[in-house]
Structure formats: structure tokens, C-alpha cells
Symmetry: C2
Subunit: 238 residues, 2 copies
Amino acid sequence: MTAKFIGAGVGPGDPELITLKACRYIQNADVISYISNEQGVSQAKSIAQDVLKNARSNLQEIPLLMPMQENRTEANRVYDEASTAIQQAIANGLQVVFLCEGDPLFFGSFGYLLERLQGHIPCEVVPGISSIHAAASALQHPLTVLTESFSVVSGRHSQEKIESALRNNETVVIMKAGRSRQRILQALRNTQRANDAQYLEYIGRDKEKIYHNVLDLDGEAGPYFSLFVVTSRARCSR
Amino acid sequence: MTAKFIGAGVGPGDPELITLKACRYIQNADVISYISNEQGVSQAKSIAQDVLKNARSNLQEIPLLMPMQENRTEANRVYDEASTAIQQAIANGLQVVFLCEGDPLFFGSFGYLLERLQGHIPCEVVPGISSIHAAASALQHPLTVLTESFSVVSGRHSQEKIESALRNNETVVIMKAGRSRQRILQALRNTQRANDAQYLEYIGRDKEKIYHNVLDLDGEAGPYFSLFVVTSRARCSR
């Protein structure tokens, strides 16, 4: 088997929401790689911990210790060094699997490694369950039916961009809602969409919280892993 | 264990893109249910066929034979009858798993059953890999980075809606692109996004086709399972 660099989605948090393919690749990996914080904690690795119980006994690791502050220069240095280490491992014939929370190519960090390695070494991507689909399942509510349109924005977008998405689409998911909670609640009120909105944090984990009425939320900042799902509640699908 | 009605995503086509949780539920099911065409062919069931090899020996089935033409009255009759049969099975203490292509709550039919059964019997939804994430993985190209905005429309939308999405979002996925191919190509040209577009059909199946240059596509209709992924090719993520 040719040595490959594989980005594998491990899903949104529930350890059973990993695909058979991601499991197989993780358990056959010679090297796993993942983002961790400065304390060595990796969300992606902890989601995969049950799967990793059946990993190779001589499994090697390439952790990417990511600084918390948004310092692109420092982050780029971490990606550069990891890319070099991964290329070296592939050159030695080792299979390298990078563990990604959710889906590898949806608002994740895997793209930064992929752009450095694509064209230089064989790459493959295994999709994962993203938080938008996990949210719809937790709410037991269709994201879209028939000809509704659907848009994803993030709390990092401008107020204008968020309000425009809310005005122009029946369904809107607002990702990375933590620090922008106050601004998002204001956008929902400004566009008369507060009654269409539901809020979730830590989906599928022990500390999962769901608010079906977002006006019950206070204005304090929420965690990074939080999102708003806005759907047309008046929808009639028949 | 309480009998439950479970909608389980089986992913976009590759039989390994099923989650561990969907596998477990399918293999413990007393009854499986699924949409099939008038010839008895079910895409969702065929994707799950390897998993079904380990299903219970006395597994029962509730197929929904869906007429091809877009006749809502007839479709509603099929959903009504299936809902009654599913409720009966649950009342008999049987675990019922409805197999859904892709994700159950993203442009699927599962919502039509769920709205009939929700509140009457215990329901659960297991998310699946949707075609948007499968497409990004097949293209090895991030759907979104940093503060890009992302929108999903379908070939069933008006020309105006599709062009507006293409003008207002860096990333646009156009689903159900088969019969609307000609109109979509025109919208891509009108908005100067043809160079940003890639086209995929039957992702992860034997007959998968990918066009990195959509101007190589002719104007004929494509299959139902086809989509366009439009991303900012000039994107710089560093």
C-alpha cells in the first residue's frame, strides 16, 4: 500500500458518529496527527479514543500544538513544521492520518495542511459528520425541505452579512457563535427571525445544551462549539 | 429497550461512509424501512447492503414504493400508509430503522415521515455524511475557510435565486443539478463564476464523474445525483 496523508473526519463529538472508513484508516495508521491546545488536549483525539484502543501498538504521533491567540504567524509556523514532519513520515513509507473534528473541509484546520502537502505527497480525505447535520439531528428538525434555500455564516461575519443571510434564506446556520452571541441575538431580532431560531452547544457531548427559545439565552458569551439554527417554523412541507 | 423510530443516514454512496452508530442501529433493527422505486430498487438499502449482512435473521421490511412522477397526492398516500405501519410496529415493541441516503434531514424524504410520527412515538435521528461533504472530500478542496460565506441552493430554484446566491457567497453548492444543468451553466456564466465551479456526479460510486472545468460539460441533462461546487479559486487562506 502506498503511504498516504489522510484527513479523516471524526464527527462532532459522539464517538459513535465516526464512519467505518475513518475507523479503518485510524486503526491501520502508522502515525496520527491532530491539533491540540497548549495543555496537550485534543478534541479530535478524544473523540477517537475508543477507536484508538485498537490502533497499532507502535503508533507514532505528530501533534500540532496550536497557540490559543489568533496569531497567524505562529499558526503558520506550526503548520509548516507539521507539514515537514508529515512529508518525512510519508517518505519513510508510513501511513499518516490527521484527525479532524466534524468534517475535514468544513471550517476546519485541515485545509491549511492540505494546501501545503497537496501535489507533493498522495493525499486522501474521508468526510465526517459536520455540526450542521448533528444539530439538525439533535433538534429532529429538517434543515431544508423542497425549494428552501440554506446558508451558513459564522459569528465572525459582519452584522450586515449575518442579517442579509437571515433576510435572504429560509434556513441559516450561524457557526462559531460563542463570542458573538449578543450580536447574533440582535441580528435575529432586527430581522424578525428570533422565533425561528434554536441554539445548541456541545452537541452529542455530556455537556450538550439546547435552547428551543433563544430569548431564554442571556447575553453572555457562549463556548466556541455553539451554533444557532434558524429555520422557517411556519414551513408546511406537504 | 423502548421501541423507537430511528432515521439513520447511510451516507452518499460509499458503503464505508456509514457511521458506527447507524451500523449498530441497523444491525439491531427489528424492521427496516426505506424509499424504493416502482421496480423495488432502493439506493439507501443498497448502500447499507454490507451492514445488512449482519442484520437480524427475522428482519422485517416496510418499503415505501414511491411513484417517479412528482405527484404530491400519491406521495402523501405512501407516507401516510408507511406512518401507520411504522406506528403499528412500534406499538408491537419493534425497533424500526428508516434508511436515508446522505443525511436524514438534508433535502431528504425522512422529514415527511418524521412530521407524521413526531410526538406520537419516540423518535431519534442519526446524522449521515451529506453529499456536500462527500463532494468537498472528492475534490480535496475546502468548502469554506475563515470568513467565507457558504450557501446551498438547488436546481429547482429560480434562475434569479441561483444567480443571487452566486453573487453573494464565496462558496455555493448547487444540488439536484441534473435536469437544470443548462440553466445552471448559464447562471455561472452570467455571474462570472464558471471558472470557480466544479461538477460531480455519483460521488463515491463506480460511475463517479468529476469535471474540474465545467465548460467541458455539454448542455444535456445530468443524473439526479449531481451537483456543482463553486468556491473562490483565488482564495488565499494564509
